[in-house]
């Protein structure tokens, strides 16, 4: 997946070199999300804070169950409640706290200012409605345009996401489209109202590798064209390198490290990030010229702590090769270790 030129990155470099253009679009602060009842619950998201700037792609990385999807759904106001409880925190967007918006106001944000695409393109489109209708309806709901006008715009969107014969596709049903094409339709639909932020929750995970690469190219392309900020959720560090400007690493419901993507790959601070990067398999490292195995794949010892257990100190301490007594007792907070590079770890202070 190594692509020489990264369009998305190039764009942000331009924005970054002109500081007056940087504007924080979305600011999530101290977000706590529980599932269950007030008495008996599990903590899915624990004190998460981050921000997304204009025109930037932020990737949230972490393994299954670390709270990245729940975090993104909370921005959309799509956490089912009950059993979900947003216990604490704020999500600031455009001067509004999304967590305190009325249902009707939140509906106007969804799909209009902030749009979202999901992991499963196979099941994310309604099987009994035409592609055309599913693409047009968001525009009709938010932009107050006629069905005919929305249809015209939808065809343009299909062209933008590079779907051949868009007029024909409009009349088709999802089952007549391939997985990659359905994800393109999802992306086109999400972008149809020109949202300021696109949340992409593992949009390439369910696709095969060549289609993955095409979808990532497409997203980079579109970002350059529309200047949409992207919140990209993934567990695939290869994908992160491909698309992100900044990376936020999550572990067991907490954020543990945040940095620009090159900085993170070159100088990981948190032992978990370090372990993740070391675990990426590289052919030259593991195989010698005659195809015999040089060394086994690297792995991190231990497993993710159970969400049913309350963690006092650092959630990674039980697996951490550097852990000291302090790590099991005091919870490290996110601190800037190097300018622009934050981590929640005691180690830099020793």
């Amino acid at each position: 997946m190594g692509k020489p030129e990264k369009k998305g990155r190039a764009l942000t470099t331009v924005v970054a070199s002109n500081p007056t253009n940087i504007e924080t679009l979305l600011r999530v602060e101290n977000l706590d999300i529980l599932f269950g009842t007030a008495k008996q619950h599990v903590v899915a998201v624990d004190g998460v804070s981050f921000k997304i700037n204009t025109g930037e792609t932020l990737a949230i990385v972490g393994e299954s169950g670390c709270g990245k999807t729940v975090t993104s759904l909370s921005i959309m106001g799509l956490i089912p409640c009950p059993p979900g409880i947003i216990d604490n925190g704020s999500i600031q967007f455009n001067g509004k706290d999304l967590l305190h918006l009325k249902m009707e106001e939140m509906r106007k944000v969804r799909g209009n200012d902030i749009a979202m695409i999901f992991q499963e393109p196979m099941t994310s489109l309604n099987p009994v409605l035409t592609v055309g209708l599913q693409m047009s309806e968001a525009m009709m709901a938010h932009k107050g345009i006629s069905r005919k006008e929305a249809r015209k715009r939808a065809i343009e969107m299909l062209k933008l996401v590079q779907i051949p014969e868009p007029e024909k596709r409009m009349e088709q049903y999802p089952h007549q489209l391939s997985g990659g094409m359905r994800q393109r339709v999802m992306i086109g639909t999400a972008l149809s109202c020109e949202p300021k932020i696109l949340i992409a929750d593992e949009p390439t995970t369910a696709l095969d590798v060549t289609v993955q690469a095409q979808i990532l190219d497409l997203m980079n392309d579109i970002k350059a064209k529309l200047d949409t900020s992207i919140l990209f959720i993934t567990h695939d560090l290869g994908v992160v390198a491909e698309i992100a400007d900044r990376v936020l690493v999550m572990y067991a419901g907490r954020t543990i490290e945040e940095a620009l993507v090159t900085e993170l790959y070159e100088n990981p601070i948190h032992p978990y990030t370090e372990g993740l990067l070391r675990a990426i398999p590289r052919l030259d490292q593991y195989l010698s010229a005659d195809n015999s195995v040089k060394e086994a794949l690297k792995q991190m010892p231990g497993i993710v702590p159970s969400i049913y257990k309350k963690i006092e100190g650092c959630s990674f301490a039980p697996r951490c090769p550097y852990a000291r007594k302090q790590c099991g007792q005091e919870r490290p907070v996110m601190k800037e270790v190097v300018p622009g590079h934050r981590a929640a770890c005691w180690k830099p202070e020793w």
């Binding site: 969804r110 999901f118 309604n126 099987p127």
Partner: protein, 308 residues
């Protein structure tokens, strides 16, 4: 789509031929000599000539392997024989009762749909909440109640005690109670089906997508949830409709409704085999027709079936 339709009609005709064969063989299920059995106690009053006439009318004077062709040829000519008592042609008699039965079945179906479908959807939307529990308790009661019992209770309450509706008859007033009886019981089954279908659909990814687009809850539910649920719900409605057409036997007798069901019961009691054969054949035709129409509705509701 056209080939699908033609194939479906072809299998329907095949089904009907098999049904007709089974019906034509029914006469051999009668213990002893069918004609003697039909005559029962009155056989001594009937002349041997009349017995022979009935025997040939039933095709019993022909060998077994000719029984079905004989029966089928007659049916295709619209001749299902005559009744033993009264010597009336069977088909016109049955057809004269058909409209009443259809009226009652459609009225019952209307009640079932109007009550069952919305309540099932509401229960699904309120899943796990108080209203859901109450509605599903009601549905379980509705399913467990015997038709005749509910019919009798309604008769006692509304006709005898309150005097709102007539006890029997054929006007609109006397349609209300029997339609309500069969409708409520079918509604219970339909509501449970509608609920479980809708509960499943509300958890689908595409409902989340629809919400993520910022569509109003009304559009999310009416467009994105109701439409995909219709295949299951319409199937159950059709199933209940065939149940009603058959279940009418009980309801028509409880409410003295002058339809096919009542005729069928008196035919059974009087051993009118021609009439019973005719009734079963008409009922099979209705069931097979409903299933063909249902398949066409399915194709209209779900594009995945249409383009198969």
């Amino acid at each position: 789509m056209l080939t699908y339709f033609i194939r479906r009609v072809f299998t329907a005709i095949l089904t009907l031929i098999i049904a007709a064969f089974a019906v034509s063989m029914l006469i051999y299920l009668v213990p002893g000599d069918p004609v003697d059995a039909m005559m029962g106690d009155s056989s001594s009053f009937v002349s041997p000539e009349r017995v022979e006439e009935i025997r040939s009318q039933l095709g019993l004077d022909k060998p077994v392997y000719l029984q079905f062709p004989f029966f089928m040829a007659n049916v295709l000519r619209g001749d299902m024989g005559r009744t033993i008592f009264g010597n009336e042609p069977v088909l016109p008699l049955l057809l004269s009762k058909l409209p009443n039965t259809l009226i009652l079945a459609f009225a019952g179906l209307a009640v079932a749909i109007l009550i069952g479908v919305p309540l099932g959807y509401i229960a699904a939307y309120q899943k796990g909440k108080f209203l859901d529990s109450i509605l599903m308790l009601g549905a379980t009661l509705g399913i467990s109640m015997p038709v005749f019992w509910l019919g009798l209770m309604l008769l006692v309450l509304f006709s005898m005690m309150l005097g709102i509706f007539p006890v029997a008859g054929s006007g609109f007033g006397s349609l209300v109670l029997p339609a309500f009886t069969s409708g409520v019981i079918a509604a219970a089954t339909i509501a449970r089906m509608a609920r479980s279908t809708m509960v499943e659909i509300l958890q689908e990814d595409y409902i989340r997508s629809a919400r993520a687009k910022g569509l109003s809850e009304r559009i999310v539910l009416m467009r994105h949830a109701v439409k995909p649920s219709l295949v299951g719900v319409v199937g159950m409605i059709a199933h209940m409709f065939t149940w009603m057409l058959g279940g009418q036997i009980i309801i028509e007798n409880v409410f003295a409704w002058d339809g096919l069901g009542q005729l069928a019961v008196s035919a059974l009691l009087n051993r009118e085999y021609n009439l019973i054969q005719g009734y079963i054949l008409i009922y099979s035709t209705m069931v097979v027709t409903i299933s063909v129409v249902l398949d066409l509705i399915y194709a209209g509701l779900d594009p995945r079936i249409r383009y198969e």
